[in-house]
């Protein structure tokens, strides 16, 4: 059986990300699963156990400054060389900014097609993409070369399939062109112990109705009680209530959690673009006519400053 390469998305702080486990699960339907770890020294050793737990039988490790010290390009070179070497049946990459960028360079290097934001990949390589803000479902195929597909987080439930992977060290030789953009600093901004927005199974978002940065603690409190991530509408971000990396929507993150709780959000089409494939949607808004109620499975018409703290209190009582 041909190999399927899964380019691992992981970080020092967060470990192996859930989307990687989803990719490993999808990859098992396509061939023999090999995980490709690209990062700093020791990355493969750090992640090996988890990757094995979800079915990686081989780990290719491209590690060190040559890979990690520059923006994206050396990683694409490493994957391209590996593709030429092992002739895989497919390459799966996370649909994160960096994942897509690796996929883009890879496609150019190999003169190969690519499909982004897939939620499913069939055994024959046909990918299912959700497009136009969740308005349409598209089935598509790479028609030139092998399937290079980026997978959207929270597309499937990862299933373990324990294996004991062998680790193979890759010698990554970045070209001069790969080294043109240096990463001089990586800064983690405060986000506490909350799950990552795109991977969380519960997302609680606040909008302009939250009315101040300080008052976002109302949103954070209930998010923490539910074990969820915190998101924000663009109006909340633009007003400076919450940082941009937590923006949900057309020009922010796409989330697809089990539960999306929208607090003080009107439900503009561009906001829906990032959340309407959520399994269950719950809204709190004082305006009974707010469009968010058109797609909410459960809605409370009321002042968020009363409803949400009361809900938090009720959850605490039940715990």
């Amino acid at each position: 059986m041909a190999e399927v390469l899964v380019v691992v998305e992981a970080s020092q702080a967060a470990g192996v990300k859930k989307v990687t486990l989803e990719m490993l699960t999808i990859a098992r339907g396509l061939g023999e699963v090999s995980a490709v770890v690209l990062g700093g020294e020791g990355a493969a050793a750090q992640f090996a156990e988890k990757l094995g737990e979800y079915g990686a039988t081989k780990i290719y490790a491209g590690e060190g400054e040559e890979v990690d010290g520059y923006l994206v390009a050396p990683k694409a070179t490493a994957v391209a060389e590996l593709v030429k070497l092992v002739q895989p049946a497919a390459v799966l990459i996370a649909s994160s900014q960096e994942g897509k960028e690796i996929a883009g360079r890879l496609a150019v290097k190999l003169d190969n097609g690519l499909l982004t934001d897939a939620v499913e990949v069939a055994a024959d390589g046909t990918a299912t993409q959700v497009v136009f803000a969740g308005a349409a479902i598209v089935k598509s195929k790479v028609t030139k070369g092998l399937p290079i597909v980026t997978i959207r987080p929270n597309s499937i439930t990862p299933e373990p399939a324990p294996a004991s992977p062998t680790v193979e060290q890759l010698t990554v030789v970045a070209t001069d062109a790969d080294k043109l953009t240096k990463v001089v600093e990586r800064v983690a901004e405060q986000k506490g112990s909350r799950p990552e927005l795109t991977e969380a199974s519960i997302v609680v978002s606040g909008g302009r109705g939250v009315a101040s940065a300080d008052n976002f603690k109302v949103v954070e409190e209930i998010a923490d009680l539910l074990g969820g991530a915190v998101g924000a509408s663009r109006a909340a971000v633009d007003s400076g209530y919450y940082p941009h990396q937590f923006q949900v929507g057309q020009t922010g993150k796409t989330v697809s959690p089990q539960l999306y709780l929208a607090i003080g959000i009107s439900g503009a089409i561009q906001h829906r673009a990032g959340m309407q494939t959520s399994k269950t949607i719950v809204a709190v808004n004082k305006d009974a006519e707010a469009p968010i109620f058109e797609l909410a499975d459960y809605g409370v018409v009321g002042d968020l400053n009363k409803v949400v703290p009361q809900a938090a209190e009720e959850i605490r009582k039940r715990k």
Binding site: A76, G104, A107, L114, E294
Partner: protein
Amino acid sequence: MNIVVLVKQVPDSGAERTLSASDNTVERGSANNVINEMDEYAIEEALKIKEAHGGEVTVLTMGPERATESIRKALSMGPDKAVHVQDDALHGSCAVATSKVLATALGTLNADLIICGAESTDGRVQVMPHMIAERLGIAALTGARKLTVDGAQLTAERQTDEGYEVVTAATPAVVSVWDTINEPRYPSFKGIMAAKKKPVQTLSLADLGVAADEVGAAGATSAVVEFAKRPVRTAGTKVVDEGEGGVQLVQYLVTEKFV
């Protein structure tokens, strides 16, 4: 500094969008077409750099004839001129082919700096800047929320899920920007009048030396096999808070097993 801004015309994300039933490409005929919003931030950034460091700003668009409207709109913000790659054979181009055409056109423009949006609102493929950099063998600084230009040296804050990265490179380079980077200016009346007279050069595939079968539906590296509209979500239960709204909400979460 010679700056080229990439501007794409897209269907308005505020209206309903769909694919064409005849060939599974984006329905652009009926859609209200606008400048990809993120590209307005790219234009603004280019104009700010020109104002601070001198130089020229050129808009580059690949798109059908009606993309001219977006080019004029872009020019009304202040860029000096535009290049419009327009050819019927481009219809249905995939990202790989698009990057080939844009990179070839850029090859004739001698840019020190290429600025584009971080992603388009229609395809959202988010690959163009790195694909172009790969083809041209130049640096890419992508996902910038802040950009500093010091002579030929560029420093950007690249937004990440965890926070940000500081990345540096020398020109020539491609930079892609998020909407947190600046506040795009509104075209002035003077700007709108001036835009009508600014030069717009139209280039065909033949002008660029790109073969028609390398692009468009003929040269596409991927194909849509089928598409379907997702079922529209419907409204569920709605309660009005009369003092117990928070408790009712939690009761719902309990029935759905979230608590």
